[in-house]
Amino acid sequence: MSIEQTTLKASAAEITKAMLPDLEQLSKCAEEPVAAVFADSLLRKMRSLHDVYMYNPYTEVVMALHDALAHQNRWINYTSKQYEGAYKLFLGLVNQNTINNSDVENAIISLENLGFNTLPFGTILEDDNYEDSEQV
């Protein structure tokens, strides 16, 4: 008798659900050194979600928060209230089990409204008065 090993793949919603305890903890200890424990755990789960589900609506929302938190270790600057807002937002999303494009957009806008900078990448832009260059 052959023994077949079956691996059950967790859904994107389930992996997202696994992030909730970290967000809940962050909502209690934000800005404290111990927050690093939960931020590290959260960021790892976020990256593993992207590893498994590169094209998925849950991944889009999760990566928006990932970028806001991971860039320049900004997770340390966000407050308990902001993490609590993120927890409630993601709780609502995972309870839906499936989400559509409109849910994704609303969730990202909500993250922005909570004060998470989902586009944190920046550079010293050249004094780009390209309109001012010689172009008559």
């Binding site: 586009l119 990448f121 920046g122 832009l125």
Partner: protein, 294 residues
């Protein structure tokens, strides 16, 4: 006669771009300066952001996807060797941060697919944020390029990106649908003539050069009528379009010198912010002085 109170801040493209893409230091400076009132943009300003950044990151997405590009590093190498403009260089400075935060390996072919997906997610998010972060004012130019939609399927982004690029670059069709000729030749003709009058009295130097170039293009439009109005020329007179289109009860926020000449003669309240380099240098100098004091 007292001036009408300022109801909010109307962002020129340079300030909107800085709020989205500059360093944290400069963003903090702008946040402090602009936190008292609502922030507004127009569709035209949004179009300029799409033209100068969104189109380029979508183009980079297709470079990254190419068969001959094995790694993320290959895509950056090709881009940096072939594309030199300041707007194109911004890609090389911003996008690596996105990939680094995700801890992708720039030399490992296995990470290329993750980078492609990450970039697609970022592009969609960038487009969403520019559409929703600021309040919109009426765009009297009815710029049709600004209205080109970026509709992307999360599981298959490529067709949506391609459709956007094709429609955005179809300036002939876009021009046939916009009102830039009416805007310059009818609606704001008197103001444009005033601007030309101001320009005729200015010497050409570093400060005035941008404004004088704009004036020269406006003069050609007045001389040639709508034949002279195309998207290329519209790009050259962008600051004038933004100044004329700005609601007079909003203060126009900018960094470009041209607005110092465009705004006063059309009674547009405005404020010129120091450049990012000036703000960063100023903070460095203050820190240096504090260190000496200590």
């Amino acid at each position: 006669m007292s001036e009408a109170p300022i109801r909010g801040y109307f962002l020129d493209t340079s300030v909107m771009r800085s709020l989205l893409l500059s360093t944290q230091v400069y963003q903090q400076y702008l946040d402090i300066q602009l936190n008292k009132k609502e922030l507004y943009i127009s569709n035209y300003v949004q179009m300029e952001i799409k033209r100068s950044y969104l189109v380029n990151i979508i183009s980079f997405y297709f470079v990254l996807k190419m068969g001959g590009i094995n790694t993320i590093g290959d895509a950056f190498a090709l881009w940096s060797n072939k594309f030199k403009g300041s707007e194109l260089k911004a890609i090389l400075q911003v996008i690596p941060q996105l990939f680094n935060d995700r801890q992708l390996n720039f030399s490992n072919p296995k990470d290329k697919e993750k980078a492609i997906s990450l970039l697609a997610i970022y592009i969609k998010r960038f487009n969403l944020v520019i559409k929703t972060k600021f309040k919109n004012t009426n765009d009297l130019t009815s710029c049709a390029r600004a209205l080109v939609q970026l509709d992307v399927d999360y599981d298959n982004p490529e067709p949506g990106f391609k459709k956007f690029l094709l429609e955005f670059r179809d300036t002939k069709t876009c021009r046939s649908q916009c009102q830039i000729d009416q805007f310059i030749l009818v609606h704001y003709r008197d103001e444009v003539e005033q601007l030309l009058n101001v320009a005729s009295q200015l010497p050409r130097n570093t400060n005035t050069r941008g404004f004088l170039n704009i004036a020269s293009n406006l003069k050609e439009i007045l001389a040639m009528d709508e034949k002279a109005c195309d998207c290329k020329r519209c790009e050259k007179i962008g600051d004038a379009v933004i100044a004329l289109n700005a609601p007079r009860n909003l203060r126009l926020e900018h960094t470009d010198s041209s607005f110092d000449y465009l705004c006063p003669s059309i009674n547009q309240p405005h404020f010129k912010h120091p450049s990012e380099n000036q703000v960063v240098m100023n903070i460095s100098n203050v820190n240096l002085e504090n260190n000496f004091d200590e």
